[in-house]
């Protein structure tokens, strides 16, 4: 059918001894399953962005507060509720991080509106600049004046910069936000860690021994799950008194059931795998089968599950703060900060915005990263 272009020379037609060794060669470079997973993960752009964001946030949690000279609990009422002011960025007007507090006053005429504003600022009027937005024609709210109040100047700290502003007590929100991040992450990691240990052990034992043991353990689990976790967490917190450790414990007490079920299911599946049988026929003791054959093979699942546990713990902590069962003042977590800010959503939005953004970034990052991990640990996904 096909003609080859160049007549091959005759000596090419010599027999070559077959090299048995060579025939068994594996051309692919050697890579472990994990290395493969990591490689796939590294190619997943969103997951990498998420990972980097997380690393940055964790670093900021540890070192962020050292960028400010104020401690997280240092108060000074004279600098209460300052708006954010960030060097360099303060010159970009739409970012609104110049430490100015802008508000619009309305009245029948601009003059009246300004008068109204002056009442509000009282003694501090010298720090306020007024811009007339509309002169007004005598009808209600037609006169509009924008007042830009230089809070920093009024507080006598023109040269200070509070990147995230301050709260009512005059505490530096930058420091508090990163301290809070640290605390929140700590709670989440702690909860996830307890969760992991208990869940993996319980699920592993139940799945591995199967039969009656499994049956009873699962019935017990179902009953535990029948108690809404919210109720348990709240009861635990009442018993243990609010605090970092008790919140983590309370979260873990209900959290591990999910992990246990997942691990059990997987172990149940894995123990039917022939390599487990092979180990049994060799005489490997149960303990070692669990440790060497089962656990490493559910590792991917464990990691993914933990990744999903962490954001939900952060979520739950925020939620507990919201219903008033969070940390004790003056301790800060992202949850308490968001909760504080929420109350002043319309008046001092900066109190809410920064912790809310951080919490959202953490949550999104963990979720995206966990999704990415799931894809990279799943061989089916890998080929797609």
């Amino acid at each position: 059918m096909e003609k080859h272009k160049q007549e091959p020379s005759a000596d090419w037609f010599e027999r070559v001894e077959r090299d048995e060794e060579k025939a068994q060669e594996i051309s692919r470079p050697s890579r472990t399953f994990f290395q493969d997973a990591v490689r796939v993960l590294f190619k997943n752009v969103p997951a990498m962005i998420a990972l980097i964001s997380l690393i940055l946030i964790i670093l900021m949690g540890f070192f962020g507060s050292s960028f400010s000279s104020y401690g997280p609990n240092e108060q000074a009422l004279e600098r209460s509720n300052l708006t954010p002011k960030i060097p360099v960025l303060e010159n970009i007007s739409w970012l609104n991080v110049n430490g100015m507090e802008s508000s619009v006053y309305e009245h029948v005429t601009a003059e009246q509106a300004q008068a109204n504003a002056e009442v509000r600022f009282g003694d501090d009027s010298e720090f306020v600049t007024y811009t007339v937005l509309s002169e007004g024609d005598g009808s209600p709210s037609s006169g509009q004046v924008r007042a830009d109040y230089d809070r920093y100047a009024a507080a006598g700290m023109e040269d200070e910069y509070f990147y995230f502003g301050t709260d009512r007590l005059g505490r530096d929100l930058w420091t508090r936000a990163w301290e809070g991040t640290k605390v929140s992450l700590y709670i989440a990691f702690l909860a996830a860690a307890i969760d992991l240990v208990v869940g993996v052990a319980y699920g592993g034992i139940s799945g591995y021994y199967g039969g009656r043991v499994d049956n009873y353990m699962m019935r017990f689990l179902e009953i535990l799950m029948g108690i809404p976790n919210l109720v348990v967490v709240i009861l635990m917190i009442i018993i243990l008194e609010p605090g970092i450790i008790s919140i983590a414990i309370a979260l873990a007490i209900t959290g591990w059931t999910g992990m246990a079920r997942v691990i059990r299911g997987e172990v149940l599946k894995l123990k039917g795998q022939e390599y487990v049988m092979a180990a049994k026929t060799i005489g490997v003791p149960d303990r070692k089968i669990i440790a060497k054959h089962l656990i490493p093979n559910v590792m991917g699942l464990i990691i993914i599950n933990t990744m999903f546990t962490i954001p939900s713990a952060i979520f739950f902590e925020a939620f507990l703060s919201f219903i008033g069962l969070g940390l004790q003042a003056p301790e800060a977590s992202l949850g308490t900060l968001v909760n504080d800010g929420f109350k002043a959503l319309t008046t001092t939005p900066h109190v809410l915005v920064f912790p809310a953004v951080i919490i959202s970034i953490i949550m999104i990052s963990f979720n995206v990263l966990a999704d990415g991990l799931r894809d990279s640990f799943d061989p089916k996904m890998r080929d797609r």
Partner: protein, 538 residues
């Protein structure tokens, strides 16, 4: 001696009389569901508020803060001041048409004191005031023995235990409201559990009660003074989140909502912004019962003097509250001889003085023989309280070197429980008077007093209070002096408590809502004379 000074509803209501115009419907928010509408059982602010509006007692607190005609038209007091005879009006009716008679009072009061009713306020308000109340409440005497008697349908005779100058003011309190015996007995367990299980004789009647959600009070046409009542409907909506309340106010769904510090800055220049000063005083309770550092007077003095109350009131509370330098609030009671208020008379006791505080602290440390002290402070867990707690921690730790203050924030009920068991060191507490008399504050701290709860005991103080209640009860000036003296001992000499601030509440208040009066004791707001003047809002 019922000289109260109740703040009138608002500046705009003062001066010229407004005219009712537009729909006479008012929507307000309350922060919690009412636990009870049974006058004998109410304990909370909202319950008292609405029993106060749906019932009419012997007297009602009037516009000027003094008792005005209620079911009683007037009364006579016997020579010895122990027998009070009230003449009741004959035209007063219950919602169901039954006349309001002296027997309704006898029944209600006996019911309140009866231990089976398990009323908290019944024995508390009546014991030591009405003859035999203590014995009845302890189950030692029959309820019939209580010193109250219906001479005839419209004459009520009350025998007091001892001379009680403020008894007239007491009669406005919910526990002293009448009850329709046949109705209450008929309802049995269900009495006052739902709107249809209540029976009103006051300016308003409860017509709807959606638990946890809202209540509706409509004008009670059978009320003897119905002509005066202008509002046709009051709706009380349960709103727990301040922001939600503000949003509802913004959209016109509420006519009045209380706001937190955060919103004050935003609304302080608005026409609808209003603060109402209350005779509620907040102070640090210092538990002296155990051998903790607070048993040391210098520690207490140091703590009391080192908090910047000015900043607390102006920046953190930011709702019109102001520093308190004494136990008895400002604008509460005045001297029997002049218009001078209690506060002015007694001056600032133990005001903020950081230097003095540090001196006291140094002395205290020396006495204790240590240079680090750890104290736990009990506080509420509301958002406002959390801020206050954090502030105190900072203030105290900054000013008093070597002090570590551990904050423990707990729900209100839990704080009460811990106080009860004296399981605390420092506690941020507040007190609102139950009747308009300095004694409502002062009798708290006598040795083993019900609310002492901190092991404070000073014989001199006890003697002064005893004297005011007993020997000099009918000598107003002597009483007055005794209270002044006692307060000095309590606050200045012993630093048993550290007064913090007197509370005001900031409201967004629809300017159209007028004629609402604030009461110093009993129920907070009086709507009998309230009206909506849409024109005033413009």
């Amino acid at each position: 001696a019922c000289s109260g000074n109740s703040e009138s509803g608002g500046e705009s209501a003062e001066g010229e009389e407004g005219q009712a115009s537009g729909d006479q419907v008012v929507d307000i928010s309350i922060s919690d569901e009412i636990p009870s509408m049974d006058p004998s059982l109410v304990t909370d602010q909202h319950g008292m508020q609405w029993t106060g509006e749906t019932y009419e007692g012997l007297y009602r607190t009037g516009e000027e803060g003094d008792p005005v005609e209620g079911i009683a038209m007037d009364h006579e007091t016997s020579e010895d001041g122990l027998t009070w005879t009230f003449n009741l009006r004959e035209d007063a009716e219950w919602e169901n048409g039954d006349p309001v008679t002296a027997n309704d009072f006898v029944y209600a009061w006996q019911r309140a004191v009866d231990p089976d009713t398990a009323s908290e306020y019944g024995p508390y308000m009546m014991a030591g005031v009405i003859d035999n109340a203590t014995e009845v409440s302890e189950g030692e005497m029959d309820v019939e023995e209580l010193g109250v008697e219906a001479v005839d349908d419209y004459t009520l005779e009350v025998t007091l235990d001892k001379v009680t100058p403020y008894f007239e003011s007491l009669t406005t309190f919910p526990t002293f409201l009448p009850l329709n015996e046949s109705f209450v007995e008929e309802q049995g367990e269900n009495f006052a559990l739902e709107a249809e299980n209540t029976l009103s004789n006051g300016p308003f009647k409860m017509t709807e009660w959606s638990h946890g959600e809202s209540m509706k009070f409509e004008k009670n046409d059978t009320y003897w003074d119905a002509d005066t009542v202008q509002l046709s409907e009051i709706n009380a909506q349960v709103v727990k989140e301040t922001s939600t309340g503000v949003n509802l106010f913004e959209t016109g769904e509420l006519d009045r909502v209380s706001i937190s510090a955060e919103y004050v800055d935003q609304y302080s220049t608005e026409q609808s912004f209003r603060t109402i000063e209350e005779p509620s005083v907040f102070f640090l309770k210092m538990n002296q019962s155990n051998d903790g550092p607070l048993a040391n007077e210098n520690v207490r003095k140091a703590i009391a003097q080192s908090i910047d109350k000015e900043g607390l009131a102006d920046t953190i509370l930011n709702d019109g509250s102001f520093p308190a330098n004494g136990l008895v609030p400002e604008n509460f009671v005045t001297s029997p001889e002049s218009d001078e208020g209690f506060r002015e008379a007694n001056g600032d006791l133990l005001p903020t003085d950081k230097e003095a505080a540090q001196e006291a602290w140094a002395a205290a440390l020396e006495e204790l023989g240590t240079d680090t002290v750890e104290i736990e402070m009990l506080g509420d867990d509301t958002d406002k309280a959390q801020n206050i707690n954090a502030y105190f921690k900072n203030q105290l730790e900054e000013n008093l070197e070597g002090l570590t203050l551990n904050v423990k924030s707990v729900p209100f009920k839990e704080r009460l429980r811990l106080s009860d068991e004296m399981d605390y060191e420092l506690s941020v507490s507040g007190w609102s008077p139950d009747f308009v008399d300095a004694n409502s504050f002062m009798n708290m701290f006598v040795t083993d007093g019900g609310y002492n709860q901190m092991g404070y005991s000073n014989e001199e103080y006890d003697a002064l209070i005893e004297e005011a209640a007993g020997d000099s009860a009918d000598d107003p000036q002597a009483r007055w002096d005794a209270f002044l003296e006692a307060e000095k001992i309590l606050v200045e000499e012993d630093a048993a408590i550290a007064p913090l601030y007197q509370r005001s509440t900031a409201y967004l208040w629809n300017p159209a809502l007028q004629g609402v009066y604030y009461n110093a004791a009993g129920h907070d707001f009086e709507y009998k004379w309230a009206y909506v003047d849409e024109e005033a809002a413009e």
